[in-house]
Assembly symmetry: C2
Homo-oligomer: 122 residues x 2
Amino acid sequence: MDPDTVAKAFVEHYYSTFDTNRAGLVGLYQDGSMLTFEGQKIQGAQNIAAKLTSLPFEQCKHSITTVDCQPSGPAGGMVVFVSGNLQLAGEQHPLKFSQMFHLMPTQGSFFVFNDIFRLNYA
Amino acid sequence: MDPDTVAKAFVEHYYSTFDTNRAGLVGLYQDGSMLTFEGQKIQGAQNIAAKLTSLPFEQCKHSITTVDCQPSGPAGGMVVFVSGNLQLAGEQHPLKFSQMFHLMPTQGSFFVFNDIFRLNYA
């Protein structure tokens, strides 16, 4: 499968999991995984899932605007760059966000090694 | 030097070069380097520099809002995620942008292996 197809499939899976079963995101990270969320650094699948499930909103819906990806080197990883809108329940206007993932191969699939998330405050 | 210090120094160097001597950016890329600029894929230092120097504006000024970085794996690279504003000469309002770099070590320094740039159309 070509990298763009893999990246789009990953992104759809990631955000639909985020929007419907946030705790399920734990399975996409490993112990060495890193998340920087609005500047806060978190390491390890359990800590990352704890952060994401404790964000101060119950329901949200991500809408993807762009997905770009490139192979990240000989180890078979890829970098994925996403921009989109995040609609929080009860808020009138969506928030713009940008997020990058560095995916690494594992047992025929990929896990998230690097994850950096920023709101753009449009 | 800690990764955050390296990332900030790289980012300052990159954008000051972009704003004052865009052709000089060629030295930050290598033959295997990739740029995705607003969805357009370009490979190789010469092609990337040709793209950046042919952008349809003469003068610009980048202002950085956030810089996040993480080590990208055992090969000694790092991912750097930037958000900021891009002021074009003659335009009233700056454009918001997000950009990610994957830096890889080379001879005591770093070069850009992956580069993805997007305007946020705020």
